[in-house]
């Protein structure tokens, strides 16, 4: 058991089963990275939410690596007596690139609904058990198979598509 995991456990006042956590890293004083796989993510978040009482989700970032996707849930552990927050970056690693899937965290955070739809828009990651996984931010005419934040689409290509759909919508009226 690493020292960082122990420190995080003592701050949260829970035990984190070692088989669920892949790695805990300390970014700075009172700021942690927690890494886990998509298979264990739901169970681990359940411990964070229900046992440690973390209720604030700041945002979710989608990250593209060479051979995998990562999803980072930025959650805040709040200590009300001291008015202090402990930021935790909950990173889901090894999300398969060919068939990207991850459990939805809507059961724990209402706010996850918007943020997960945003990532579905931009990266095409499918969130299991999400109640309403539909387009949030991209325009109505945007082609379904183009996920603009992926590295395979360059800035120029995205610009081209934008110009094309704008032109189409002007001709249509």
């Amino acid at each position: 058991m690493s020292a960082e995991l122990k420190e995080l456990e003592s701050i949260l006042n829970v035990t984190l089963p070692e088989k669920l956590v892949e790695e805990v890293l300390k970014v700075e004083e009172g700021h942690f990275d927690v890494l886990c796989t998509a298979k264990n993510a739901y169970d681990l978040m359940k411990i964070f939410n229900e046992e440690a009482g973390i209720y604030h989700l700041s945002t979710i970032s989608g990250i593209e690596k060479e051979d995998e996707f990562n999803i980072c849930y930025h959650i805040q552990h709040r200590i009300e007596e001291e008015i202090r927050e402990v930021p935790i970056n909950f990173i889901i690693t090894k999300v398969d690139k060919k068939n990207p899937k991850s459990p939805s965290m809507f059961d724990f955070f209402v706010a996850a609904e918007y943020y997960e739809r945003e990532i579905y828009d931009f990266y095409g990651i499918y969130f299991e058990n999400h109640p309403f996984l539909q387009r949030l931010i991209l325009p109505e005419r945007w082609p379904d198979d183009v996920k603009p934040m992926r590295k395979e689409y360059s800035w120029e290509q995205v610009k081209e598509i934008t110009m094309k759909i704008t032109k189409e919508s002007l001709e249509d009226k």
């Binding site: 009172g30 209720y55 604030h56 700041s58 945002t59 009300e80 927050e85 930021p87 209402v110 943020y115």
Partner: protein, 417 residues
């Protein structure tokens, strides 16, 4: 969790509405009430709201993608464009991410940090005054709009003198700040801040005691602490509902832990509480600005530390308290001079769920005030005025003229005048 968001409806023509609703009102994307493009769908039974939903995404500019195609240094000037009115705070979070990744955090002088804080608080003041002016306008109290916006010019003038710009100060740079606050400006700034404090105290008196505005805001759109915990709002929306979290206090950055200031929060949870949070915070921000000026008199130091263009590999998440709430940036560097991934979450997106929760069961006549309560923002800068500091000579230019002059000045290495 579905009791908080049971509003998953794909059709916007009313055919997919809840059963007990008999009227459907659609506001936006283009609507005289809203300066920002957003589409609100409100289902009513009689005069009461049964359910409300929002559709966003009418103004996607692709800043995150654009940042991946520019260098860390170019992005310093791109990132404040994420928001028209809280530009300084976006730039501040960005430069703190870069400082951290480049490892120059401890080389930044105290003076540079104080100047950064000064610009952040100035921005908070003008944003809050703008917001509660518009709120008064939505509540049908136009006199207050004119009074507040008149007084807002005081802080705009102060920042124009210091940074050369009214809204986009661009005073933060990786490693420090772009400009110093000149000692000869300080007396006049202090005098104007004193005048501003007197005016804001008057605004507070109006919002707290004037019956016509209290009746419009009190007990309207109540968000209880329990609901606030579930919908995770941030900033003044959360602080009006009894969640005392301000990033400046809860995870201090710059020198906010070295300066003494009061955290404002209310427990009532109605629109009046969020309004008073903002009015009181404006007064606290004036306090902080005055303390910064006090400390600047005795603090000296280098304004800019050197940051190399290549940023070593790493990742860092930084947050700041923007006028509207918690601003989150997450940067990933891969050792080159461009970011591998840069994520920005501006505060308004996090407040939408809480605002929709506020609407349930309220009167349709209260909708403008409730929708305004989370502070949607807009941008208002379209001119360049160049002032010769020594002679006071002024020149107003449009974009083309400015570009032509700038290219000439660079080519022949000569000043604008």
């Amino acid at each position: 969790m579905t009791e908080y968001r049971s509003r998953f409806r794909s059709l916007t023509d009313g055919s997919d509405a809840p059963e007990d609703a008999d009227h459907h009102i659609f506001i936006g994307p283009q609507h005289p009430w809203a300066e920002e493009p957003a589409h609100f769908i409100i289902h009513l039974k009689g005069e009461r709201v049964v359910e409300a939903d929002i559709r966003i995404g009418f103004n996607l500019r692709g800043i995150e993608k654009a940042m991946e195609n520019r260098t860390w240094r170019q992005n310093v000037m791109l990132v404040p464009r994420a928001c028209g009115i809280c530009s300084a705070v976006h730039q501040n979070v960005y430069v703190r991410v870069v400082d951290r990744l480049a490892g120059v955090e401890d080389q930044i002088s105290e003076r540079a940090r104080l100047i950064r804080m000064f610009s952040l608080e100035a921005e908070r003041i003008h944003s809050h005054i703008l917001w509660y002016g518009i709120l008064a306008h939505d509540a049908g109290f136009d006199t207050m709009l004119h009074i507040t916006w008149r007084d807002r010019e005081i802080i705009m003038d102060i920042m124009e003198d210091i940074s050369g710009n009214r809204v986009n100060y661009s005073i933060n740079l990786p490693g420090g700040v772009r400009r110093d606050i000149k000692p000869e400006l300080v007396p006049s700034v202090r005098e104007r801040l004193k005048k501003l404090r007197k005016q804001v105290e008057y605004h507070r008196k109006v919002f707290a005691e004037e019956a016509s505005i209290r009746n419009r805001l009190e007990n309207v759109g109540i968000l209880t602490k329990e609901d606030a915990k579930k919908t995770s709002p941030n900033g003044p929306t959360a602080r009006g509902s009894g969640l005392p979290y301000d990033v400046r206090k809860s995870f201090p950055y710059e020198l906010y832990d070295k300066i003494d200031w009061d955290l404002i929060y209310y427990t009532e949870g109605d629109v009046l509480a969020t309004t008073l949070v903002r009015v009181d915070e404006t007064l606290v921000s004036i306090d902080i600005m005055e303390r910064c000026l006090d400390q600047l008199e005795t603090t000296q130091g280098e304004l800019l530390a050197r940051v190399k263009p290549r940023i070593p590999a790493g990742r860092y998440m930084a947050r700041a308290e923007a006028p509207r709430g918690e601003d989150v940036h997450y940067g990933i560097a891969d050792g080159t001079d461009t970011p591998e991934r840069y994520k920005i979450r501006a505060p308004s997106l996090g407040n939408i769920d809480a605002t929709l929760k506020r609407m349930d069961g309220e009167y349709i006549a209260d909708m403008p005030v409730i929708l305004r309560s989370y502070d949607p923002c807009f941008s208002c800068t379209n001119r360049v005025m160049i002032i010769n500091e020594n002679t006071g000579e002024k020149m107003i230019l449009n974009q083309d003229e400015f570009a032509r002059k700038a290219i000439k000045a660079k080519k022949y290495n000569r000043p604008f005048f």
